[in-house]
């Protein structure tokens, strides 16, 4: 029996141009946190990250493949996704 190849189960995407690998099934909010980034900048200029983790607070919104205002905690990472924070 072969041992499972954990690396093969990772998904690689980009957050603000930097490559990030996350476990298969991880959400975009997780990828942003693993990249050490905040999700957005508030109207008065504060960095913000996910708060509720369940799609209600809208604090985790980012741009995904050019589409703005995506709630990153509700969206699962796909290979090659391009995520931009600070929208």
């Amino acid at each position: 029996m072969s041992t499972p190849n954990l690396a093969a189960r990772d998904v690689t995407l980009s957050v603000n141009g930097a490559r990030v690998s996350v476990p298969l099934g991880a959400t975009v909010a997780v990828a942003v946190a693993m990249a050490g980034q905040a999700c957005r900048v508030s109207v008065s200029g504060e960095p913000r990250g996910a708060l509720c983790g369940m799609g209600i607070c809208f604090e985790c919104r980012v741009s995904i493949n050019g589409k703005r205002h995506c709630r990153s905690c509700q969206i699962v990472c796909e290979p090659g996704m391009e995520v931009e924070t600070d929208e």
Partner: protein, 423 residues
Amino acid sequence: MNSDSQQRFDVLVIGGGPAGMAAAALAAESGSRVGMVDDNASAGGQIWRRALNGVETVEAARWSERLRSANVTTSFGKRVFDQPETGVLLAEGDDDLCELRYQNLVVATGARERFLPFPGWTLPNVMGAGGLQAMVKSGLPIRGKRVVVAGTGPLLLAVAAYLRKQGAEIRIICEQASWIRLAGFGASLWKHPAKVSQGLQLRKELASVPYATNSWPLAAHGGQRLESVTISRNGKTEVIPCDFLACGFHLVPNVELPLLLGCQISGGYVQVDDLQQTSIKGIFCAGEPTGIGGVELALVEGQIAGLAAAGESKRARSLFGERRKTQHFARLLDRTFRLRPELKDLSSAETIVCRCEDVPCSRLREHKSWRAAKLYTRCGMGPCQGRICGPATQFLFEWNPDSVRPPVLPARVESLASLAKSN
């Protein structure tokens, strides 16, 4: 709107947590054509959210199987945002719009955490207790991270135990309720043996983690993200360095959809009769929106609502006894974890209350009502539409939320445009 995005159901269930799953399964098993719609990527709601590295609980798996074998049409990643006419709801997916027609409706929209503002609560890595748990279940690495868990309610213990099992270092659990209230809660649990054994299990899993009653967060500190938390621990102030603050003040029901539908709400909860029917005939409600009572109550209410919506009132009545027993637990929760008035003073003048529009506490104090605050400060007018600051201002200023207007969640312009066209 194209025709294949229209669906018709005898019973439509909004929400795929325990209450919604039970309602959908029982209605479908009774022979009704049933649809179940949820905003999340899969069934189970928040309580049965499955971790990437985890398996379903036995009970969640049992209900998933019942949904499958009863042929419920499920649809995930869909947000209901409007009711253009009676018996019709509109839901938006990532790239599509669907029209859902129903004879009877079961609203099982669950609950969210209550957040209270305090200095620094907007820093990244200050999250809800359930919020951090959901993120970790979705893949966020937590091994070796220092976590302070704070707020109120039984969720704090469950979250702390889960995070610890995943390798987090739980620095402390701060519960705002007094020791006396909690002792009373423990003493009243003899009627709920399942809860006692869950409690003992959690206690075992949290051995050596400090659990402080009469304690709450005073401020979170950090630059780009959280670095430490100041807590009030039984009257004394303490600073605790940490990577995450998991902070939630019990739960508030999601009543935006029932409000939009015109269901009567009282004391923040959807009013229902014995058969879980709301003030509107043919619209039923089950689970947390009728009162925060936990998963057992949600399941029995869901079963009653599902049976009643499918015209099986007699069978629904056979579950009334079970519901009565679990309702007792809901009342205990309410009493034990009521928020203490000191928490109203946590915000300073500059503390942001509305995170969407960055409205500080000082600007809100000038106003007498939620409506006035919305008009003059934009509080509650951002993308979350008051879902976070609404319950906070309700506690801080005793403001009551007013009516909701469609769309109840931000919707794409194309979705709204096609709605206008169909009108």
